[in-house]
């Protein structure tokens, strides 16, 4: 069941994920990593996907990109509509051509995500050479322009340098340059600042926001740290055990969380001494995805859990204008 907020006019979203399921077939059994995720993204909009590590954020992103390793992954159900077209049923060769010019992605660890044996300029230029058939010299010239655009000092001199010769922040800028090279409409950033120092984090977030406004991209910002995205995101989807448990506008969530899990994340203790990480105030650990608890998957850790939570799974329902929550007691949480 989808409680997607489709505009009344029926106009189509830039990106629409519907009832997405992803499973991993492992030796320990079937890990149900994504269990029916719905969300939409419009042009120029920033959607933050928030959740603890292991909640399925990266898998969701990779399923949208179509870069999951299958096997072990399978997608037993769901649709990923880009401009109304389902990417999941698109022939692979056609879909490949959407990666880069239409949808792009950057990753958490830029050092390991860049190829260590090719110069950074070569890796950026590859986008132009492969997708547009641009010759080497022109592709390099465009790569330099992009490096300048993402504020890499002395871009011309450093275009032939290798990833290990840059700082963490500069490497992430290179990843960003590569991702936006072909003017994608959707940019997915999977924890783009998690590996960086606090000051650099802010610079990278500012750059992403700037580029998003400049190119009117739809931006999906994945994070486990609400603090990082608060200023940048328009809407937030909170994930737990492969489901969206709350979805709302940023301000609303901050003011009044509508789900005990979101509330727990918000109440996490900020640890300024540790690279902006927060110590979770939520006791216990996320569930083993091969054995997700029945009812509300969060119930073993939820301070508000009642009997019904152990047997009946709460649906993601409207709890206010433009916001949904999947909790039997969402009203109580909101009123608290």
């Amino acid at each position: 069941m989808s409680t997607q907020t489709t505009p009344a006019t029926g106009e189509q979203h830039l990106l629409e994920v519907e009832d997405l399921h992803v499973e991993f077939h492992t030796s320990e059994g079937v890990a149900k990593a994504i269990n029916g995720v719905d969300f939409s993204l419009d042009e120029g909009e920033t959607l933050a996907i928030l959740g603890e590590s292991g909640s399925g954020k990266s898998v969701t992103a990779q399923a949208i990109m179509g870069i999951l390793d299958m096997p072990p992954a399978t997608i037993p159900a769901g649709r990923v509509l880009y401009k109304g077209q389902d990417l999941l049923t698109m022939p692979e060769e056609e879909r490949r051509l959407t990666r880069g010019p239409e949808i792009s992605m950057i990753f958490q660890d830029a050092l390991s995500s860049l190829n260590p044996v090719f110069p950074v300029g070569w890796q950026i230029a590859e986008m132009f050479r492969v997708h547009r058939g641009v010759n080497k010299a022109d592709a390099y010239a465009q790569a330099i322009k992009l490096m300048e655009r993402v504020n890499i000092p002395a871009a011309k001199d450093r275009v032939k340098a290798y990833p290990h010769q840059f700082s963490g922040g500069m490497r992430q800028r290179i990843m960003i340059a590569m991702a936006i090279a072909l003017d994608p409409k959707v940019l997915i950033a999977d924890e783009p600042t998690t590996a960086l120092d606090v000051t650099v984090q802010a610079q990278i977030m500012a750059l992403l926001q700037e580029l998003q406004e400049e190119f009117r991209m739809g931006l999906i910002l994945i994070t486990h740290d609400l603090g990082v995205v608060a200023d940048v995101a328009d809407r937030i989807a909170v994930m737990y055990a492969g489901r969206i448990v709350e979805r709302a506008e940023v301000g609303d969530i901050y003011a009044r969380p509508g789900h005990p899990y979101t509330k727990g994340l918000l109440e996490s203790i900020p640890r300024l001494d540790q690279k902006g990480q927060k110590l979770s105030a939520i006791g216990g650990l996320p569930p083993n995805l091969t054995r997700i608890p029945p009812g509300c998957a969060f119930h073993p850790r939820c301070v508000m859990a009642q009997d019904i939570c152990r047997t009946e799974r709460p649906e993601l329902l409207d709890v206010g204008p433009q916001r949904q929550s999947a909790c039997h007691f969402s009203q109580e949480v909101l009123d608290a």
Binding site: Q62, R99, P101, F107, S112, V117, E126, V130, H131, M178
Partner: protein
């Protein structure tokens, strides 16, 4: 870079001097008569022994003898063997054959080993993977003389696909095919396995995931982004292996009647032909050191994270 090469070449000098001195000492300090066997069945006449001793300064202390020898070596004179032929000339003939064989073995093991390793690594646990694992295990566990004789018997004599022997001073390339395959077989197996594990590991790496996210073709994701990184250890292995191959292969040369360096040294030791052995081994030490340098340079060129400064 140029500085690095010069420094490495300078470092080689003491290594070459010390190792050749050790070989020289071992060969000439061995108990017995260095002229034994040089005059057929009979002991050599006193005049010959005197001349021989004078020529190689055998009455002087060992370091001095070596000094004279080294002086000649630097001038390109490796002395004469027991049949009176210049060692340098014989070695260069032998070395040409060995080098041809080594290059062919290297191409064989490299091309097939890398191909098999890539195919196996891309589908770990698949049919090709199992085929590669079993056949390479077989090749590794069977001694080379068994592989050699079997190949010679079946491919050479029975089915007559390749010549069974490669004798003479200048054997044809075609006659060296079978020996090269035998010679390269063990390394081929190691290369296939090394490549397989590298590919299987790198295909799961973050930068390969990035390559897919860039919308590159699967061919490019594997052929450019995965292969390049996976090749680095393999190329290094092949470099060292080439150095070893240039040292000759006594068993393979023996089976196929090849007049290579390996057999030359072997015969030299058997006949106690000190000058021939020392000359050949000195040449090999230098070749091996140069190969080492080449491998290090290649490694630096393939992996920009390694700096040769």
């Amino acid at each position: 870079m140029g500085k690095y090469i010069v420094r490495r070449l300078l470092q080689m000098i003491p290594v070459v001097i010390l190792s050749t001195f050790l070989i020289y000492a071992m060969v000439f300090a061995m108990p017995g008569d260095p002229t034994a066997g040089k005059c057929g069945e009979r002991p050599c006449p006193a005049a010959y022994i005197e001349k021989f001793n004078a020529k190689y300064h055998l009455d002087e202390p060992l370091p001095v003898q070596y000094g004279y020898y080294a002086k000649n070596v630097v001038q390109g004179d490796l002395g004469e063997n027991q049949y009176g032929r210049p060692v340098a000339e014989e070695l260069s003939e032998r070395f040409t054959v060995t080098a041809k064989l080594a290059v062919m073995a290297l191409i064989f093991e490299g091309v097939i080993g890398i191909l098999a390793g890539v195919l196996a690594g891309l589908r770990k646990g698949g049919f090709i993977d199992n085929l590669v694992l079993i056949s390479t295990l077989f090749v590794i566990s069977v001694p080379i003389f068994v592989t050699g004789f079997a190949a010679q018997y079946f491919l050479g004599l029975k089915w007559e696909i390749f010549p069974a022997l490669a004798t003479g001073k200048d054997p044809s390339l075609f006659s060296l095919v079978l020996p090269a395959m035998v010679l390269g077989s063990t390394s081929l197996a190691y290369i296939a396995r090394l490549m397989r594990s590298n590919i299987a590991e790198n295909i799961k790496s973050d930068y390969v995931r990035t390559a897919k996210a860039k919308g590159l073709t699967p061919r490019r994701v594997v052929g450019v982004h995965t292969l390049r990184n996976s090749l680095i250890p393999v190329v290094t292995f092949m470099g060292y292996d080439f150095g070893a191959l240039l040292g000759g292969a006594i068993v393979t040369e023996g089976i196929f009647g090849i007049n290579g360096v390996g057999g030359y040294i072997f015969k030299g030791i058997q006949n106690r032909d000190g000058i021939a052995v020392v000359g050949a081994v000195t040449a090999l030490v230098i070749v091996y050191l140069l190969m080492n340098l080449l491998v290090d340079l290649l490694y630096g060129a393939l992996d920009p994270r390694i700096s040769n400064d």
